[in-house]
């Protein structure tokens, strides 16, 4: 036990003697959670649009004003010729163009019918769908106002109610996601590098020659990083609750416990990477280049997993942050308890055991 404490202390010396790295490790999650928590949103607003309006009249002006006044659109330019449409889209200045027919108002009054085309840049098909839908509903509203005396017969009114995140705050889905991702990557990178570095510098040989058991050796390496990660986690949670108004509806103790499990899983993954690599460069490439995009995309906070093809759905199960993301969402935003998350927690524990067992096996081989 005394040996163990001494070794832990040695690791702390390593870390505190290099303040630049320490500042980076602690500052990084803060910067990331602040930037991305505030900046990312799924909402579609301020889309720039162009208007092609051959005959300017009361109705078209009203529609254009209404579009411009909504927070979804900004009328960027007015186009005279349909041929200019293509150029406007190609220069990337607009997302959608509203094309009125000739003599719009006249046609509406006399033939009781007038056409509007909503031409959208479908490079991003979802934004195109959402933008066209917003515009359609704004135009329909104007239409209803134009004929206050006609109540439209056989009308089905649709009431839409948003649950869990009624203001559509992007932070609610992004904060748990970023949290899972940042914690996973930083913890993994820290441990994998710290161990491989000792291998590269040759000081690992010295440690191995000592009478320490491999398990104790590894534990003493991991514990300081676990404490740093927990500290990072605490800061992230404080920032998200105080600055980003993300609630903790469920139990904080439960959140803490599960986060501890997740951090240990991430550290174990780092350990695993360090046991299969010999150089820092390779370790880094695996833990950054190899893991960055997959964790970002497969953890489910950007793209719903059930939409993915089956093989990828299966693959997403090996991404630890996927499980943690579900847990955090359940506890913080939905306020669910242990009953909802015990399965996910067990998966994380299973992963930890798996990584540690394999790393220990590899570790022993190295000695012989």
């Amino acid at each position: 036990m005394k040996q163990f404490i001494i070794f832990v202390r040695k690791e702390f010396f390593h870390i505190f003697r290099d303040p630049k790295t320490l500042i980076i490790i602690i500052g990084l999650p803060i910067i990331q959670i602040l930037t991305f928590g505030f900046a990312l949103t799924n909402e579609v607003k301020n889309s720039k649009i162009a208007v092609l309006n051959p005959t300017i009249d009361e109705t078209t002006t009203k529609i254009i004003d209404r579009l411009n006044a909504s927070r979804f659109f900004e009328v960027q330019e007015s186009i005279k010729n349909p041929k200019e449409l293509d150029a406007a889209f190609k220069s990337g200045k607009i997302r959608m163009a509203v094309v009125f027919q000739n003599n719009f108002q006249e046609s509406l009054q006399h033939s009781k019918k007038a056409d509007i085309q909503l031409v959208a840049d479908a490079s991003d098909p979802n934004i195109a769908t959402i933008v066209m839908n917003y515009a359609s509903s704004i135009i329909s509203d104007v239409q209803n106002e134009l004929n206050p005396n006609f109540s439209i017969p056989y009308q089905i009114n649709i009431a839409t109610r948003l649950f869990y995140n009624p203001q559509q705050i992007g932070a609610y889905s992004f904060v748990p996601g970023i949290m899972a991702m940042v914690l996973l990557l930083i913890s993994t990178m820290m441990t994998s590098l710290a161990i491989v570095r000792e291998k590269e510098l040759g000081s690992m040989e010295l440690l191995l020659a000592s009478p320490m058991k491999p398990l104790v050796l590894i534990l003493s390496k991991v514990i300081p990083y676990m404490l740093i990660s927990l500290f990072n986690w605490l800061i992230i949670v404080i920032l998200s609750v105080w600055l980003m108004d993300v609630p903790i509806k469920g139990s904080f103790a439960l959140l803490f416990f599960v986060s501890l499990v997740f951090i240990i899983a991430a550290l174990a993954l780092g350990l695993f990477i360090s046991s299969i690599t010999d150089s820092q460069q390779v370790a880094m490439m695996i833990s950054l280049m190899g893991m960055l995009l997959p964790t970002l995309i497969l953890s489910g906070f950007m793209f719903p997993i059930e939409n993915m093809p089956i093989p990828l759905q299966v693959m997403s199960n090996i991404v630890p942050s996927k499980w943690y993301y579900t847990i955090v969402k359940d506890i913080m935003i939905k306020g669910l308890g242990i009953k909802a998350i015990w399965k996910e927690t067990f998966v994380l524990i299973g992963m930890t055991l798996f990584f540690i067992t394999i790393s220990l096996k590899k570790f022993k081989l190295r000695i012989s």
């Binding site: 990084l28 220069s91 109540s151």
Partner: protein, 372 residues
């Protein structure tokens, strides 16, 4: 000139000698490019829909049949009351609930007015929004059909109607992959470029070999060029392979000029490599360089418009995107590949990226110190 050639020889020898790194440089981007767009698929096709039908009338059944027939929804849940439906909602089994009130049909015909309630799970932002948009569309059509049925006996003169026709351009099949593949390719090329180069110099620092170079008469800019060119070539090769893969696997062929795309990429890579070298000059250990690259990559990806639209961000974040080289390249590659934009359209981007290239590299050369 000869110095540079020797330096290049050295760098290439180093890269090719380490087969693990070489494999990672080429294999990892390829695997990711093949797999990730399949995952990053936001064509919302299977929105899990729960239905509570209190009416059980021909109309309510007809509406449900129409929702079922659409490709967007999967009916997962039939409940008698809202509490039952909410339980499944909580478990994420359904994304959206449609509640049809009792007397839906009777009210609609007798009182000419009826209500429906849609409950949306907004934790999953885009999916909720799209789901609500789709289901409203279906209900609107349903509503129009009913109106047509009953209006055949017109009690009143027709209401003036504005006909709205949505027309998607450039990506007529509305394929989300066409949107994501070029974006992901940019990130992969950036990783190979900036990330590897930043590690490279720090590696020499840590290994101590940089001292040996410092004592030679090699000029600062020779040294920087020697580090820059190999990774520049790797980046271009990865881009070419990536475009080939996106053509073979996803059938995406650039509508615009490929030459233009590569010339933009060439300048872009010089810029990001310069940034990578700059990072490496300030980092003492590979660990520091890596954490810093991690931050940069996250900014590149998340504030680059890869996935969330830039114009929805708050103003200060939009300012940051202006200084994000990846944001320019992501926009340009999508413009050229999907819309066929020409040189004139991307001129502002070209200008901005050239500025980055010059500034970063000048700073990199300036901050590289030959003495310890």
């Amino acid at each position: 000139m000869r110095t540079i050639i020797f330096l290049l020889e050295k760098e290439f020898a180093q890269i090719f000698r380490n087969s693990a790194i070489l494999r990672i440089i080429f294999v990892m981007p390829i695997i990711q490019l093949i797999m990730l767009p399949l995952a990053a698929d936001y064509e919302v096709k299977s929105i899990n829909c729960g239905i509570i039908d209190h009416d059980h009338s021909p109309y309510s059944r007809k509406l449900i049949a129409q929702i079922e027939a659409s490709t967007y929804f999967k009916l997962v849940d039939y409940e008698q009351n809202i509490t039952g439906a909410m339980t499944n909602f909580e478990k994420d089994k359904s994304d959206i609930i449609l509640e049809i009130p009792a007397h839906f049909e009777r009210d609609l015909i007798k009182e000419e007015k009826s209500n429906l309630l849609i409950v949306v799970n907004a934790v999953n932002g885009v999916k909720g929004n799209l789901g609500a948009a789709y289901i409203s569309g279906i209900i609107r059509t349903f509503n129009q059909n009913i109106r047509m049925d009953w209006m055949n006996f017109p009690k009143m003169s027709p209401v003036p109607e504005i006909k709205i026709a949505p027309i998607p351009w450039y990506n007529k099949l509305m394929s989300y992959k066409n949107f994501m593949v070029p974006g992901i390719l940019v990130i992969l090329v950036t990783m190979v470029g900036s990330f590897l180069s930043s590690l490279n110099i720090v590696h020499e620092k840590e290994a101590g070999t940089i001292e040996q170079i410092n004592v030679t008469p090699i000029k600062k800019h020779h040294f920087i060029l020697g580090k820059l060119i190999p990774f520049w070539i790797l980046g271009i090769v990865v881009l070419a392979i990536g475009l080939l893969i996106s053509y073979i696997i996803y059938g995406i062929f650039p509508v615009g000029n490929i030459f233009l795309l590569f010339s933009f990429a060439a300048v872009y890579l010089v810029g990001t490599l310069g940034l990578g070298l700059l990072v490496s000059n300030f980092a003492d250990t590979q660990q520091q360089a890596m954490f810093f690259s991690f931050l940069l990559m996250m900014v590149f990806i998340l504030l680059g418009g890869l996935y969330t639209p830039i114009e929805s961000m708050p103003d200060w974040a939009i300012m940051i995107t202006k200084f994000n080289p990846a944001a320019y390249f992501i926009e340009v590659i999508r413009m050229i590949v999907l819309k066929g934009s020409g040189l004139k359209d991307i001129l502002p981007h070209f200008f901005a990226i050239s500025c980055f290239a010059v500034v970063f590299n000048v700073l990199a050369i300036w901050s590289y110190k030959k003495q310890v």
